[in-house]
Amino acid sequence: MNNKPKPISQPESDKYWNGLKNKEIWIQKCKTTNKYQFYPRVHCINCTENDIEWVKISGEATLFSFAIVFLAPTPAFTDDVPYINALIKLKEGPIIPTNLVNINPDPEKIKIGIKVKPVFEKIDENLTLLKFEPSEQTSN
């Protein structure tokens, strides 16, 4: 993990990254449109108002798409391949980029649309990543 890119949290995203350290998922909701958004911003991307609140969510989600990386994009990921990149769709609407874990990286076994749940992967004292795993055990 040493050389993997680490997020440089920005002022508007501190609450998101700090939340993950406590195994909590906080995302933004616009009070005007009632729409959720990811990633955190200073304004609502649907109405451009800045009347937004932070909401703690469960992480209930479905798999929107995935891809299986066999050629590491940087040397830091060499030991991880094959690993599964995923886009998951939160129950609240937004799509989050992540990894699908705890399932074989076999395209025949992974189905778009399956339910997934959060896995908090502590990297170090300052960083926890939000990954996802299938909600129900599959026969892998």
Partner: protein, 386 residues
Amino acid sequence: MPNYNKLKNISGNTSIVGVAESDQIGKVPEKSPLALHAEAASNALDDAGLKFSDVDGLFTAGWSTLDVAEYIGIQPRFTDSTSVGGSSFVIHIAHAIAAISAGYCEVALITHGQSGRSDRAPLSRHDGIPMIQYEYPYGIIGPPSSYSLACNRYMHLYGEDKTREAMANIAVSTRKWANLNPKAYFYNKEMTLDDYHDSRWVSWPFHLLDCCLVTDAGAAIVITTKDRAKDLRKKSVNILGIAEGHDHSMISQMPDLTKAFGTKTGPQAIKMSGINLEDIDLAMIYDSFTFTVLVSLENIGFCNPGEGPEFLLEKNISPGGGFPLNTNGGGLSYTHPGMYGIFTIVEAVRQLRNEAEDRQIDNCNLALAHGTGGLLSSTATVILGI
């Protein structure tokens, strides 16, 4: 919204009068990226019968025009360093004709030089951008990761088997065109369907042979008014319609993974040009991946969403087929230094001028070139006519 009355007024008023690559493309470790810019610029001006001193507008991406102009030794009066990925150089055509039409400059030079294979000082990005903050930590890094996520969504919606067959078809057909182009990286190397299916996985669903090359190459384009073009060296190619735009940067923010901004730029460019899509003789579609071609053809409007595979089979995109596509061999098999868009224009102009030698198609009067940049992020569509 676009003002079509104004756009139609400038349709056809400007022409591409010079195109060229750098002296060598492929593996060129002995030349810097700026050297490739300068070499291609010199060659394109020579193609047009113009000199560096004639240039008053400069357009480039990946570099600031400050550095490119200084290295070349010119003092442009209109500059644009718009850099939104490999489509940028197609987008520059729109900016160039706007600048020429408004009177800011008369001879626009678009340059590109990139040593994707051999660069001693690769470009970097600001670490604070959302893509690096939210995608990179998970290893969602670079085009294969991102485009493969879009491709698998496409497969889910429309069927994996027929999508795979279409991608194999694009890879093999494009290689056949490269086998006719002496400048192509894979000029001397044929590809079978078995080669395609047997090639290793890069980011499933992408095989290695779904992915473009990484080369060293430069290219340049010269644009001027239709009036001035009449006195120049080669048959000029008219810019009939062009449109540009983007709708996200990182893949997880793409509004619809199977509908890139080509859904907007394709129809807009066609409408500006006043032609019908059915009249296009040549399609030069940015092929960062086989999938990029498939989804771009649908987005532009050549066929309906999900019907790209059937369209490709019906039309036949190989040499001698009914739908000439990426006749230079594309980013897949000719060259792709990192940003490829400008090369779609170079080839379209050569085909329209009847200069494409062994790969020349018959009766090429109208060409469409389509650039895609970033992570399916930005597109530009241009209609060129002779």
